[in-house]
Amino acid sequence: MRGISHPTSGAVGEFFSKRLSMTMKLAVYFLTTGLTLLTLPCGSFTEVPSKPSGTVTVLPPVHPAGGPQAFPNAEKSDLPVFAMNYSRIQVPFEITLWVLLASFAKIGFHIYHKVTFWVPESCLLISIGLMVGAIMHAVHEEPPSVLSYNIFFLYILPPMVLDSGYFMPTRPFFENIGTVLWFAVVGTLWNSIGVGMSLYGVCQIGALEVQDINLQENLLFASIISAVDPVAVLNVFEDVSVNEQLYIVVFGESLFSDAVTVVLYNMFTFVAEMPVVETVDVFLGVAKFFVVGLGGLAFGLVFGFVASFTTRFTSNVREIEPLFIFMYSYLAYLVAELFNISSIMAIVTCALTMKYYVEENVTQRSCTTIRHVVKMLSSISETLIFFFLGVVTITTEHEWNWGYILFTLLFAFLWRGLGILVLTQIINPFRTIPFNFKDQFMLGYSGLRGAVTFALVFTLPDHIVRKKLFVTATICIILFTVFIQGISIRPLVEFINVRRTNRNLDTINVEVHSRLMEHAIAGIEDICGQWGHYYWKDKFMKFNNQILRKILIKDNQAESSIVALYKKLELQNAMEILDTVSEGTSTAPSVISLRKEKGPGKPKRKFVAADLRKMHDILSKNMYKIRQQTTEYTTKHSLPNDSHTKEILIRRHGTIRRSLRLRSFQSPTLSGGGYPSAPRSRIGQPSRSSSRVSLPLRRLDTLTEVSSSAGVDLVDERSGGRGRAGGRGKSRLNSSSSDSRVPAPPCHFDSSEVFHGNRDSMPEQEEPLSLSVTWAEEPSDHDDSSTQNPLLRRPRWNPVKPKNP
C-alpha cells in the first residue's frame, strides 16, 4: 500500500490531506449507517403478513351498474401506477446491501492505516456484522434465513476455495507438498479425533448436563472446529519475512484443512444418524476418506486439462475467455459433489492445473480479468459469511453451557499445540531445513478459525439435538481465535523474532554490504538451480515440456522464462507505454555531467546521529528484499504484490533502451580513456543487431532495435514520473555511455577491452543486451548472434526499417 511519496508542500498540505481523510472517513461511516438503517424498514416488511401490494388508485373504483359480477366478493383493483413489491426482491436486495455495506466498511478501514495493520480484516468484518446484528436485534428483526446447506455449499464455498487454489504459489507448494499435506491432513485429523474424544470424555461428566451428546456428534463437532483459517496470520508473516516453508505450510493448511473438514463433516453427519457404529464402519470410513480425496484430485486434473485445451482455441472469442475458467472450475466442483467426492480437492486441483497453461494461452487482459474476478467473488463470499456470523451472534438465541464451551476452547488449543509438536518431530528428519521452536510456535498460534467453520456448524442438520449448543460454542471459539489471536499475533511475532544484529550497532556499511551479499547469494542459488529431492519435478518438467505443453498451449515455443515473466507481471503494457512515451523526449546525453560526476571530491560531510538513524530507516524500509519474498507472497484479501519486481524489471528495461540508443550518439571524441574501440563497435552494431526482425513472438511486434541512423534515438526519462527521474536519469546516462558487450564471436571487437575499459559503467547496460530473451532464439536463428531485448519494440511510426545483415 505504500505508494510513491510525493513530498507535499509542507505542513499545509498535510493539514489538508488529514482534513480530507477525516471528512472521507466520516462520510463513509455516515453512508454505512445510512445503509444499515435502510435495511431495517425494508426488513420489516417481511414480518407483516403478506398483504396484497399497496395500491394507489387514481380513479375511483367504478362499478358497472347492475351488471352481474362473476365473483361478487372480489374487489376490482385498478391499475396501479405506483406500487411497491418488496417481498419479491427481498433476498437479493438484502444480500446486495450487505455486501455493499461490508465493502464500504473495507474502504473505511483502509483510510486509517493503523487499523488494518493491527487488526486483521476478518475481525473488522465480524465487528461490522455484530453492529448490524445489534441494530437488528434492537428493532426485533430476524436476519433472512438465506444460509442453508445447499446455498453455502453450492454458491458460497466454491469462490472461496477457488481463490485459495488459484493463488496458491505453485513452486513452493510443490516443493513442500509433503510437509503441507502432512500438517494439513494429518493435523486436521489429529485435531478432530483428539478433540472429539476428549469432549466425549467430558460429556460423561454428569455435572455438565451434556450427556446426551454421543460420540458421533462429538466427533462431528470436533471436525467442524478443526477447520483452520489462518489467513489473517499470513499478512503478519509476510511483513515479518518468515521463511518460505512456514508460509506455505500455513497457506496450504488453510486450504486443505477445509477439504478434510468437509469430508469429515459429511462422513460424520452420516454416521451421526446411525445408532450404532461398528468396526467395519470405521474401516469403511477410512477407505472412503482416501477415495474421496484422490477422486477429487483426479476429477480436478481432468477438468484442468480440458480447460487448458479449450483455451488453446479461444483466440477468437477473447471476451469470454475468463468464462471458461470459471465454468470449468465450477463444473469440476459440481461433478465432484454429484459423486460425493471431495469437491474442494477437485476445484483446487483444477485451478492449479489450469492456471499454468491457461495463463499462457489467454490474453493478458483475460488473465487480469480472471484474477480480479476470482478475488472479487471470494471476497464477497467471505464477507457474507463473516457478516452473517456477526448478525447471528446477536440475534439467535444461544444455548450457553459454560463447561462445554470452556472445555472446547481448552481442548482445541491443547490438541493443536500437541499436534504441531508431535507432527513436527516426526517430519523434521525428512526436511532439509527443520522447523525450530519459533516456527512451531508460530504454526500453532496461527490456528484461527474462520468462515468455513461457522458455515458448517450453522448448516448442521436439525436432527442434531444440541445444535444450538454447538453453534454457540463454535461462535465462541471463532470470536476468541479471530479477535484475540488475530490481534495479538503481530506483537508476539515481532517480540519473538529477534533481529540478528542490533540495528543501532550496525554501521551503514554493514547493512548495505550484507544486503548486497544476500542478493548475490540468492543470485548464485538461482544459477545453481534447484537441487535435492527434485527428481520427480525434473521428470515432470520433461514430460511437461515434451508432451503437455505441445498439446495444451497454442503456438508453443520453447519455454521462455523472461517473456513469461514479463507477461505475468503485465509489464508488456508498461513497456509499450515506456517506449511510446520516451519517443517524445529529448536529446543527447549530457557529456558535461559525465565529467562532473568524476569531478573532485566534495567536501566531506559530517553526519550526525539523527542522520544516521534516518539512513538506517531508509535502508531498512526501501532496500529490495531477497527475491523469495518479493514474488511469492499473496494474501486472501489482495492480489499478489509484485510491484518491486516490476520496478526492477522496468528499470532494467529503461537502461537497456537508453544504452542502445545512446550508442548511436557516441562519438569518438567522447572522453574517458578506454573507449577506443567503443565507437567502432557501437556503430557497427546496430546494423547487425537489427537483424532480428519479426520473430514469431506472440503479441509483440517486430523486435528490432531502433536503428541508430534513424536519429530518433532519444533518451528516455525514467518511466512514469518517479521522484528523482532527473537526477538518476542523468547519472544513468553517464554510465550508459559504455558500450554494450557483444557476446557473439563474430562481433568480437576487443570486447574484453571494452568491458574493462568502462568507467562508470554498469554491467546492467552490457549484460541485458546479451540477456535478451532466449526464448526468441529459434534454433535456426543461431547465427544471429547479437542480442536483442525483444521487448524493445520498434515504435510503429518509426519509418526506418532495420537493416538486415
Binding site: 510513491i4 511519496s5 531445513i433 551503514i508 556499511n509 548495505v512 554490504h513 550484507s514 548486497l516 551479499m517 544476500e518 542478493h519 548475490a520 547469494i521 548464485i524 542459488e525 538461482d526 544459477i527 545453481c528 535435492g532 521462455s560 522464462s561 523472461i562 571530491g601 566531506k604 542522520d611 539512513m615 531508509i618 535502508l619 526501501n622 529490495y624 519486481t645 520496478e647 526492477i648 524489471l649 528499470r651 518517479r722 528523482r724 537526477g727 547519472s731 554510465s735 558487450r741 557483444v742 557476446p743 568480437h748 570486447s751 574493462h756 568502462n758 562508470d760 559503467s761 554498469m762 554491467p763 552490457e766 549484460e767 541485458p768 546479451s770 540477456l771 535478451s772 530473451v773 542480442t787
Partner: protein
C-alpha cells in the same frame, strides 16, 4: 550411482576440478546437469543470455552484475570449468580445520567470497570501489522512491565509515575489515543445503 560415474567421465579433467574446488562428485554431476540445462544450444559454453534466461535472476536487483562476474576474465563465454570454479566460492567454508598456511588459499574461504562481492561493486576493476560505483549499486538495490540526495548521503556515509586512507574510495583491504561475519556464514548454508 552409475549415472554419476558416467556423467563424470564426460567431463574432462574432472579430478583436478574436484580437487581444486572441493566439490564432491555428486555436486559436480548436479552442476553439470544444471550447466547443460542452461546451455540450451549445447555449445558447451554459456553466454550471458543463457544466464539471462533464468527467471529469478532477472528479478534480482544485482542480477546483471552477478552475471558479469562470471564473465569477468574478459571472455564472452563460460565453460564448465570456469562455471564450477566461480560457484566454488560459495561452497560453505570448513572453518574448523586449522589451515596450513603453506597451502594456497582455499577457493571457498571467506576472503574469496569477499573478493567476489568486491567484484560486484568494482566494475572497472581498478581495485577500488569509487563513490560512483557505490552509488550505482545503491541505486539498483533501493526502491524508486528514495531520492538522489538520500542515496548520495548514504553513499557518502558508507565511504566515510570504511575509508581509512581517505582516498574517497574503498579498497579491498578496507572492504575486508567490514564486519560481515553473520551474513556470510548463514547464507552459505542455504547454498549447501540445496
Amino acid at each position: 550411482m552409475g549415472s554419476t560415474n558416467s556423467t563424470l567421465s564426460k567431463i574432462p579433467n574432472v579430478e583436478e576440478l574436484m580437487r581444486e574446488t572441493g566439490f564432491s562428485p555428486a555436486h559436480i554431476v548436479r552442476l553439470y546437469d544444471r550447466f547443460e540445462s542452461l546451455d540450451k544450444e549445447k555449445t558447451g559454453h554459456l553466454r550471458p543470455e543463457d544466464f539471462g534466461a533464468i527467471n529469478r535472476l532477472a528479478m534480482n536487483p544485482i542480477g546483471d552484475r552477478i552475471i558479469g562476474a562470471f564473465f569477468s576474465s574478459g571472455q564472452d563465454t563460460v565453460d564448465f570449468h570456469s562455471f564450477v570454479r566461480i560457484l566454488a566460492h560459495f561452497r560453505p567454508a570448513e572453518n574448523n580445520r586449522p589451515r596450513d598456511p603453506s597451502l594456497p588459499e582455499p577457493v571457498n574461504s571467506r576472503i574469496s567470497k569477499l573478493k567476489f562481492a568486491f567484484q560486484l561493486y568494482d566494475l572497472d576493476k581498478d581495485g577500488k570501489i569509487s563513490r560512483a560505483e557505490l552509488l550505482q549499486v545503491l541505486r539498483s538495490m533501493m526502491e524508486m522512491q528514495v531520492t538522489e540526495e538520500q542515496l548520495e548521503s548514504i553513499a557518502d556515509r558508507t565511504i566515510q565509515e570504511a575509508d581509512l586512507d581517505r582516498d574517497d574510495a574503498i579498497s579491498f583491504e578496507e572492504f575486508r575489515k567490514v564486519p560481515l561475519g553473520d551474513t556470510l556464514t548463514l547464507t552459505q548454508q542455504r547454498v549447501a543445503s540445496k
